[in-house]
């Protein structure tokens, strides 16, 4: 076959060759001529026809031979199989719908979850050689990687050899005022080589130089693409222009490309929009060794592993500790691949969900296999007939495979559609803490994954009927009664249903354990009443608020303005609130109780508040007093501690009257403890309350403030008027992040809620599919035994006996499924790990509930077949074919 022939045969296969009609006309013309020739020779019409047939062979065979030449025979066969398969699927709409829906759900759910897993866990970070990027931190005694002080970072740079470069960052939240509208920007200050370390270039201008990264001069900024477009209209001449933030001029030196995702910022998941040089130097400002507030990153030299780097850094840490024993704890340095550091929190949950969704796919495949098995039993006669008519076994296998592939393709297409819808849903319920969620989308890799799933599913599914079809002595089947079932196939189907039930129960138990965890978490008392409180954030920055009196004046006025609003019961200000995502842990040094090394004094969560805070938050006062209007800048400095602080530091002794220094052990005022209040949970409902200390805003002011407005009705409804009231006071002060405190507390259970919702969804789908499988098997069994039932009824069997006969199989299956499912659940619920709260992973209530649900659904799956069995009319049944 030369190329031209191949090309025209491919064209022919696509239907562009000579038409059948043309070929037939050509053949017919030939026959006519020959017949006319024979007639002229004096043959009779009959003889002429016979002669033509003898000389030319069959017309149909000739046409078939030309057709084969016209295109590629196997393509034709495939097309035929497809057409035949489509016809078969159309002829059994119930079967087709059930199979396609089952596959679509299995494939769709898997694609959706894989899309999330892919975006969050698998896709490499969008930096140059992301494998060599790591996150570094001093490991505390508790084992968690901590932030580092600048002086430590400088020593790390000087003493380590594992890294091509190191960088540190701190948070940076300047207030940008454009056209009188103040906005707080999320940003970071970074050491000058940060962008180079990541291997990303700006879209406009440049990044920072070493000269710009100094304490006296760090007035350059790089903008994100988003900020540049949003606030500066994408002005191409922005580079070199000056913007004013916090009353200081900053020169824009560059704009990052839109493709630079701000994954790394002070909090990994807040999107940095602006970068400035860190501007630190050893010995200046917050550069001390125990000023641990910088996040460290590094790029490993090629060939150096994270573990090797960690070993080297730990020895550096030991050197530093020998040199500065009061400033370092014994410990090590954690060097974690950046990708892992970013996704560490989300990994277990996502892998768990991936496992759960894979279970759904297994159920789906088992179900479709079951449907196909049942169908192939019904079709045995048809297959046998085709064998007898001369179809080869391979041809029949190809036909069945084509049909299955067709089914999988349709199911896959529907599944992709379903995935697109589901992914929007997943993104909507996903907790904000899930990193890189913005990147989730059906992309080529995900589509490819879906295809692989489809093909594997098809292969799994196709295996069963084909093996059966080729094993059976099909010729024998023609003679056999079509109603009898092959015993082997029945066993396979029963096993598949048991597997379905067991997996569904496992999923159900997991979902139930999560439900119990979420409810017990929701019942946890946070130590305050979050209801009817609106919170919003205010920043008092720039020259206007450089001095304390201005801040105090603003605070007083803001409280007055907010109190004056209708529907407001009370107003308080605080520098941070529980569940606000804040963290302000400070050294707590009690006179007479200080450790020899101040580093060993406890770190206590510090809240700066106005006097109304306690009543607004409904935190109970346990002893002494809280702040009053009399606690001012000139009066005795005071502080109030929480019960756990009192217990931690003083044990059973009374803390009231003791004096403490908060923050530094050597500087600052001594504050007298005047009261003890109840504990609050700071950021995690599942964790015990952490020790806290309260200081009056009047004595140590803060620039970052949270306004808490207690409403007499709905907190969220108050937001617009509250924001307007504060804006009116000073439009240059940014007001942002308005949220009800109750919503913030609920956000803390978001992660578990996310897992619970998805698990519950998967369990529901799995249960539904298992029920369909069970129903199919039982109903099929009933229909297969119609004649037998009729016979029994005719011979006087009671309906109870008939029911027992028909349903006993279902009961056995259910029992086996329950046993296997409980075993599976016992093995798997512990994988939920720390997500389980307040109950055992083997919670009997959860397991019982799951098992009961399964039984209820199984019973429901039996109802219709049972009713049908009882309605069997013996007279009709005996004649049933």
């Amino acid at each position: 076959m030369n190329l031209r022939e191949l090309a025209s045969r491919i064209a022919g296969a696509l239907g562009r060759g000579r038409s059948d009609r043309e070929i037939a006309a050509d053949l017919a013309a030939h026959r006519d001529e020959l017949e006319a020739f024979h007639l002229r020779r004096g043959l009779t019409a009959e003889e002429a026809r016979r002669a033509v047939r003898f000389e030319l062979g069959g017309e149909v065979q000739a046409l078939e031979a030309v057709r084969d030449q016209r295109s590629l025979p196997f393509v034709d066969a495939l097309r035929q199989d497809l057409r035949y398969g489509l016809r078969m699927l159309r002829r059994a709409p119930g079967f087709t719908a059930a199979a396609v829906l089952t596959l679509a759900i299995g494939i769709g759910a898997n694609t959706a979850i894989f899309s999330v897993v892919d975006a969050v866990l698998l896709r490499p970070l969008p930096y140059a050689d992301p494998d060599r990027l790591v996150s570094l931190g001093e490991r505390t005694r508790a084992g968690d990687p901590e932030r580092v002080g600048y002086a430590t970072f400088i020593d790390w740079e000087a003493r380590s050899r594992s890294f091509e470069s190191l960088a540190v960052m701190r948070s940076f939240q300047p207030t940008l005022v454009v056209n009188g509208e103040a906005e707080r920007l999320a940003g970071v200050r970074v050491t000058w080589s940060y962008f180079e370390m990541l291997g990303v270039r700006p879209a406009l201008g440049r990044t920072f130089t070493q000269e710009e990264d100094r304490p006296d001069a760090w007035h350059e900024v790089v903008l994100s693409d988003g900020l540049w477009r949003r606030r500066f209209g994408g002005d191409p001449t922005i580079v070199g222009r000056t913007v004013v933030m916090n009353d200081l001029p900053y020169r824009v030196v560059g704009v990052m490309p839109a493709s630079f995702p701000p994954l790394i910022s002070a909090k990994y998941y807040t999107a940095a929009e602006i970068w400035a040089p860190l501007g630190y130097a050893v010995g200046v400002g917050d550069s001390c060794r125990d000023c641990r507030h910088l996040r460290a990153f590094g790029r490993l030299r090629p060939g150096v592993s994270a573990a090797a780097a960690a070993a080297e850094m730990t020895s550096v840490h030991e050197q530093l500790r020998a040199q500065y024993p009061t400033q370092y704890e014994p410990g090590s340095v954690a060097v974690v691949p950046l990708g892992d550091a970013i996704t560490a929190g989300a990994r277990p949950q996502l892998l768990l969900l991936l496992g759960a969704v894979a279970c759904v796919l297994v159920i789906a495949c088992a179900n479709v296999a079951n449907l196909l098995l049942a169908r192939s039993e019904l079709r045995r006669r048809e297959l046998a007939l085709r064998v007898v008519l001369g179809a080869g076994r391979r041809r029949i296998a190809a036909q069945l495979l084509t049909e299955t592939a067709l089914l999988s393709a349709i199911g896959g297409a529907c599944g992709l559609l379903l995935a697109a819808i589901a992914m929007r849903g997943v993104s909507a319920v996903a907790p904000q803490t899930l990193p890189r969620l913005g990147e989730v989308g059906i992309d080529l890799r995900v589509a490819l994954f879906a295809c692989v799933v489809v093909i594997v599913a098809a292969a799994l599914v196709a295996l069963a009927p084909i093996r059966q079809a080729s094993r059976d002595d099909l010729r024998g089947q023609l003679a056999v009664d079509s109603r009898t079932t092959a015993a082997g196939a029945g066993r396979v189907r029963a096993l598949l249903v048991v597997a379905d039930l067991a997996i569904a129960l496992t999923l159900l138990a997991g979902a139930a354990v999560m439900l119990r965890s979420v409810t017990s978490l929701a019942r946890v008392n946070p130590g305050f009443d979050p209801n009817r409180i609106l919170s919003m954030r205010i920043i008092l920055g720039g020259r206007t608020y450089a001095e304390d009196p201005a801040v105090r004046a603003y605070q007083t006025q803001a409280i007055e303005h907010l109190r004056a609003l209708p529907g407001v019961a009370a107003v308080a200000l605080a520098d941070q609130i529980p569940f606000g995502g804040d963290f302000d842990c400070r050294g707590f040094h009690v006179q007479g109780r200080m450790k020899p090394n101040a580093v060993d004094d406890p770190c206590i969560q510090r809240y700066g508040t106005t006097p109304a805070y306690l009543s607004v938050m409904s935190i109970p006062l346990k002893r002494g007093r809280f702040f009053t209007a009399e606690d001012g800048e000139t009066s005795q400095p005071v502080a109030v501690v929480s019960e756990s602080t009192a217990r931690l530091v003083w044990g059973t002794a009374d803390p009231i009257g003791s004096v403490v220094r908060i923050g530094s052990a050597v500087r600052g005022p001594w504050c007298t403890i005047v009261g003890v209040v109840g504990d609050v949970r700071h950021e995690d409902l599942a964790a015990p309350p952490i020790p806290a200390v309260y200081m009056p805003e009047s004595q140590s002011t803060d620039s970052f403030l949270v306004a808490l407005v207690k409403s007499s009705s709905d907190a969220a409804a108050l937001a617009p008027s509250a924001i307007a009231a504060v804006r009116q006071l000073d439009p240059s002060v940014p007001v942002y992040g308005a949220a009800s405190v109750a919503a913030l507390v609920n956000g803390a259970i978001g992660e578990r809620l996310f897992v619970m919702r998805l698990l519950a969804g998967f369990a529901a789908v799995g249960l539904l599919l298992a029920a369909v499988g069970l129903y199919g098997l039982v109903a099929y069994g009933v229909s297969q035994r119609t004649r037998e039932v009729g016979l029994r009824l005719a011979l006087g069997a009671t309906s109870r006996e008939v029911l027992r006969l028909l349903l006993s199989k279902g009961v056995t299956l259910l029992a086996a499924g329950l046993a296997a499912g409980v075993a599976g659940a016992v093995l798997t619920t512990r994988l939920l790990g720390s997500l389980v709260f307040g109950v055992s992973p083997l919670d009997p209530l959860a397991f019982g509930g799951a098992a009961l649900t399964l039984v209820a659904v199984a019973v429901a799956a039996h109802v219709i077949p049972a009713i049908r069995a009882l309605r069997i009319d013996p007279a009709l049944a005996l004649r049933h074919d």
Binding site: E5, S8, I23, A29, H30, A36, E55, A65, V66, Q69
Partner: protein
């Protein structure tokens, strides 16, 4: 009497058809079959299931072309004719065949040149 398709090798039939078209020019399927029959003194009946796939194959390879026309008996029929590429191919195959035939003749010990 050799007339079943097994008896004609594929390449042989191609050569016959090409040669026939070269000799007679444009010809329809019936004409080709008749011509082969005459030349072979009725020894060769070409089955339609053999001839027409061969015609299509030659056309797909670009060696012959076809178009509808009217036969001597005023019937619509498809007329096949040799293309330029077909002429070249025919020359090649003829030479090939001659060589094969003379080898076969010598091998079988007849010692005489095969008749055209």
């Amino acid at each position: 009497m050799a007339h079943s398709k097994r008896d004609i090798m594929q390449g042989t039939l191609d050569l016959m058809v090409l040669k026939t078209l070269e000799t007679i020019g444009s010809l329809h399927g019936y004409g080709i079959a008749q011509r082969l029959q005459q030349v072979s003194d009725d020894a060769l009946y070409v089955n339609q299931g053999t001839l027409y796939p061969a015609l299509l194959r030659l056309e797909q390879r670009g060696w012959i072309a076809s178009a509808w026309g009217t036969s001597e008996n005023n019937r619509r029929a498809r007329f096949y004719s040799l293309t330029r590429a077909g002429r070249k191919q025919l020359a090649l195959e003829e030479a090939d065949w001659q060589r094969t035939a003379s080898i076969m003749a010598r091998l079988l010990g007849r010692g005489e040149e095969p008749a055209q």
